[in-house]
Symmetry: C2
Subunit: 86 residues, 2 copies
């Protein structure tokens, strides 16, 4: 993909500015950034003594957990679809 | 859920030890931790100048992006399932 087709935006996550570059729409990228920001604020408010690296790693753990659970759901749905399609 | 039914493990992510507590199996929790560790190492090797908080936030962004894309797939599959079921 040509470089000029990439989306470049600045987002604020947990008080820090990040430059994001990607092939997705800016809407998708802003949604992702705001979900990460929300998760970090949630984890931080539940554990006020954690430093930023720990909050960020816990946010990553949390997100990968959600991903793995959703992947399990996809697998079940794929099996169901295959059965229905015969 | 009673406290004694919770899984408590120590995992190493990017050279740091984290205590994880959850209601999932230790296998699931170790898988999640190792996926986060892999992602952090991958991002760090592509951007050797980044510090740990930035690597962790980028890992979280990466994971949430994967989650949102998978969620879009789930939505399409749900529509297909509903059609097939009439």
């Amino acid at each position: 993909m040509a470089d000029e087709q990439k989306t470049r935006i600045s987002v604020e996550i947990f008080g820090q500015t990040y430059k994001m570059v990607g092939t997705e729409s800016s809407t998708h990228m802003r949604l992702v950034a705001s979900m990460v920001d929300d998760k970090m604020r949630e984890i931080s408010s539940r554990n006020p003594n954690l430093d930023i690296p720990k909050i960020a790693v816990l946010t990553a753990i949390n997100s990968v957990h959600d991903y793995v659970k959703l992947q399990e759901k996809v697998q079940l749905m794929e099996e169901e679809l295959n059965k229905l399609k015969g």
